[in-house]
């Protein structure tokens, strides 16, 4: 992760309550004196314990480490490490929906303990062992009767607007979150949503009317003219429950997936498929990797060879339907260690936010111990015209070790890609592939996959 020389993480500067920093490779959070009362309330009201027990809040221990900024410090805490930081524009529909519901569930529990969430950023939620968890321990403040929810707009921009657009318009609109780092502007969401969304009471009020109110009252001075009496606790609860009902009703079904029936239409026989699985399983036993990135993972069939061995695994795929199916399976089978994410490898997640250093790029979150590139090379080299040496350079930057499948031109999947275009890929040969990759990797093992024309390589990074 990018960081300043002080060790203070650049993503953590907005909230005066505290900030994250690293020392000797350990991630710590400084709690500032300004937050002392709220921190005490969180810990002493039983809220912390309840939330951690429910798996909704990241556990932490108090640390004796020296503060990063002594002048403001109250306490240093050491949160449990998140296996992999992912971002909302990399989540499938149900991942974003579950993150939204987790946020609201936390808010309801907080209210019962006399506290409230002072922010509702989707970036404060991370997936740990398949479930959404709030990672910002300093998000709580003491609830004061009458005070409206400061994070209402943020919740609508980070969660409700993208979910509504994905559900009612097109699932790919989640990518707007990549452009708008503080969530989708509500007037934009309102204009993109179909007219029929106005018949949905929750979307009508929290998105459409909300967007109009923002335009109409943009210059209103609410600090001096606000409604007397403010917002009762019943009104507050009504608001949270209404958001919850609205989110719960939003649905999206993965259909017509790019790879939907991929494994049924490949030229793999069942036994060839099993051979491939067996080879990779044997290699994993010997490699014992700390982490695996499965690139072009589809619905995670091969990722599970790693995650089932207790290896922290990220299953990346370009197709939101495949990622959605993968996530649903993780949920229904309560699988651990596997995180499915949406990624276009030909244009991976960039570094974003203030000074391009608030959100790490795809590469900055690596390198992975081991990467899988199974049935992927032809999509990069032929569909996207990337010369093989550049493909090798890319992989050498993101992993120590690579399990890659060579798919020759004679393969029916490659022939399919070439059906509608001129074959300009003279260098796309096994020899060309091997020499390109040997410049960056050492071949540890290579073997043909029985009953196919394909070949698997176990490569070790030369650096």
């Amino acid at each position: 992760m990018a960081k300043q020389s002080s060790g203070i993480l650049p993503a953590s500067f907005r909230d005066p309550s505290g900030f994250l920093f690293t020392r000797n490779g350990i991630l710590l959070r400084q709690v500032n004196r300004a937050y002392a009362d709220d921190y005490a309330r969180l810990m002493e009201s039983g809220l912390y314990e309840k939330l951690v027990k429910s798996g909704l809040l990241i556990p932490h221990v108090e640390s004796n480490a020296k503060p990063a900024d002594v002048s403001t410090a109250f306490k240093i805490i050491q949160p449990e490490r998140v296996p992999f930081i992912s971002y909302p524009y990399e989540w499938s529909f149900s991942q974003l929906k579950d993150a939204a519901l987790a946020t609201l569930s936390i808010q309801k529990r907080a209210l019962r303990a006399g506290m409230s969430l002072k922010d509702a950023s989707a970036y404060n939620i991370q997936f740990i062992h398949g479930k959404p968890v709030l990672i910002d321990t300093l998000s709580f403040e003491t609830y004061r009767e009458g005070k409206p929810w400061d994070a209402y707009r943020q919740f609508c921009q980070h969660f409700l607007a993208p979910l509504a657009l994905m559900s009612a318009r097109d699932v790919r609109l989640s990518q707007l979150l990549r452009v708008y780092v503080d969530g989708i502007p509500l007037d934009l969401a309102s204009s993109l949503l179909p007219v029929s969304s106005r018949l949905n009471f929750g979307l009508l009020t929290h998105l459409h009317l909300h967007a109009s109110a923002q335009t109409r009252y943009a210059d209103a001075d609410v600090k001096s003219t606000a409604v007397k009496g403010g917002m009762s606790q019943n009104a507050f609860i009504g608001l949270i429950e209404s958001l919850e009902n609205t989110v719960k009703k939003l649905e999206w079904k993965p259909s017509g997936t790019e790879w939907g029936h991929y494994y049924e239409i490949t030229n793999y026989t069942d036994s060839a498929f099993d051979h491939k699985k067996r080879i990779i399983s044997e290699w994993l036993e010997k490699m014992k990797p700390a982490s695996v990135w499965d690139l072009g993972a589809n619905n995670g069939e091969f990722s599970r060879l790693a995650s089932a061995r207790g290896i922290a695994t990220v299953a990346w795929d370009i197709d939101p339907s495949a990622v959605e199916q993968n996530y649903r399976r993780i949920k229904s089978e309560k699988e651990q260690n596997l995180l499915p994410l949406v990624l276009d490898l030909t244009n991976p997640s960039p570094a974003l936010g203030w000074a391009n250093s608030e959100r790490d790029s795809f590469g900055q979150r690596g390198p992975a111990d081991t990467a899988f590139a199974l049935a992927l090379i032809h999509h990069l080299a032929i569909s996207n015209n990337v010369p093989l040496p550049r493909v090798a350079d890319f992989f050498a930057d993101i992993c120590q070790r690579l399990v890659i499948e060579w798919v020759p031109k004679s393969d029916s999947q490659v022939q399919k890609l070439l059906r509608s275009r001129k074959d300009i890929f003279d260098a796309y040969t096994r020899e060309g592939f091997e020499s390109a990759f040997e410049a960056r990797f050492k071949v540890k093992v290579a073997m043909d996959i029985p009953e196919t024309e394909r070949r698997l390589y176990w490569l070790e990074n030369r650096t």
């Binding site: 923002q214 943009a218 507050f236």
Partner: protein, 59 residues
């Protein structure tokens, strides 16, 4: 109405106003539901599971 400390997020003027309006409306529902369960309580009818809280789901 003035609250201290000031929020670090800007709640947004329009968002602030519309929230008060929507929440006032929705709050009536919550108040009615609470009175109902009180009235039903007098007759010995306990609130349904889903009307209590969602702590139950993780027990």
């Amino acid at each position: 109405m003035h609250f201290t400390p000031l929020p670090y997020l800007d709640p947004g003027s329009g968002s602030f106003i519309i929230q008060l309006v929507i929440a006032a409306l929705l709050g009536i529902g919550v108040a009615v539901r609470a009175s109902w369960s009180k009235i039903r309580g007098w007759f010995g009818i306990k609130p349904k599971e889903d009307e209590t809280d969602d702590d139950g789901e993780t027990k």
